[in-house]
Point group: C2
DNA sequence: ATTTAGTTTTACATGTTGTCAAATTAAATC
DNA sequence: GATTTAATTTGACAACATGTAAAACTAAAT
């Protein structure tokens, strides 16, 4: 009963240059997705419009990303990659103190400012769709933990948890976006975030900011 | 010559009790919309699911609200109504001072806390869809103007615009939501908003005052 | 009893997502 | 250069959601 599946005698095949073209297609699709998400919003972003702008077929998008959700997740990952987790390590390896706080605030505000409209959409999707909400929440939790370390480095007592919560919220995209919207300048918004962050840390229990 | 359109000789008709039933249907649909938006998110909210939960036909929803967008707008309006614009007037008629600030913060945080999940969805929709974005922005602008009056009442100098921008951002839903998420308590979040608001107002201007 | 108007039913048109299989094409191998 | 390989394209289809329209139905008002 040895079933002979009749293996068709394959010849070795290295994708080589074709992989590069696939990567180009992936990149083009994600670029189009970011652009359309920013410009037209989520409901107007369709597989057809994506295919048209990225120069591939609708079917190819499905081949490369599975579903529309898959494309979105890839955009998520791409943003996370750009977001500079490396720069976050740079912050953490710095000596604790006010300079570290400045860098912490600067990195996030800089990133928020660079991708403001796109991030507004992406965070919005996380807010309306529980499926994506988890991704955003996970990233927020990571920022909270990082904030906790910065706060701890500035030597606050038992209030450190409270202060970390504040610092994380003050460095959230949404707070930055609201500030920038209200004052019209992203640089000004970053300055305000820093002011409020310093206030949050040096508040209440007497121990002032490291000087 | 004179074309006689043959008017069908209408008899007067007062809707009376039927209007009440229509209002009940409207209310049931909006109740279902809020519930499903909160529980399942925006993508899972369909006309069919709405009709099923509210006990009317899909067509009736179209008759009453026009389109799905119309239902959403009605939910917006309903929230705005609940939100207590009346209470805002209450704040404005108060004598300026810290007590007014406390009330200002309390009203918004209380409202955010009461409808947290629903508001997260609604604001999310505003973020992903430019069509709704305008509605949210308009309401944010109104909060900014109110914040400006509160700040002015606390007698800040030329920095009042900056402080109003801060106060408005600090009393935004998103900031409150982030705080509540980070510290786990909505009451605690409100306390933190108030602390930060006081800090924002009593702070010397961000630009170093020539020292 | 009749009229009125909202509701339901039924049907249809459109647009989007997702899947599938065969045809096509370009790169890799021989 | 001919053949093999695998991605891409093409064309078709099913499922589902929104939106529209007209006729049948129903309950309230007259």
């Amino acid at each position: 009963m040895t079933k002979q599946p009749r293996e068709p005698e394959k010849r070795p095949y290295d994708l080589g240059k074709r992989l590069e073209q696939m990567d180009e297609s992936r990149a083009a699709i994600l670029r189009a997705a970011k652009a359309q998400l920013t410009a037209k919003g989520y409901p107007q972003l369709t597989m057809v419009s994506l295919a048209a702008e990225s120069g591939v077929t609708r079917q190819t998008i499905h081949n490369l990303f599975g579903t529309k959700t898959g494309v979105l997740e890839a955009v998520f990952d791409l943003i996370a990659l750009d977001s500079g987790m490396e720069r976050m390590r740079e912050v953490m390896t710095q000596p604790p103190g006010d300079a570290q706080l400045v860098k912490f605030v600067g990195i996030f505000c800089g990133f928020w400012a660079r991708n403001r409209l796109l991030l507004r959409r992406v965070h919005g999707i996380g807010a309306i769709d529980p499926e994506f909400g988890g991704v955003i929440e996970a990233r927020n939790r990571r920022r909270l933990m990082a904030a906790a370390r910065v706060v701890q480095g500035l030597g606050s007592g038992g209030e450190s948890k409270r202060r970390a919560a504040k610092l994380a919220a003050l460095t959230s995209f949404e707070f930055f976006d609201a500030l920038a919207e209200n004052c019209g300048s992203e640089a000004e918004a970053e300055a305000m975030v820093l002011e409020q962050a310093r206030a949050a840390i040096s508040m209440d229990d007497g121990r002032g900011p490291s000087k």
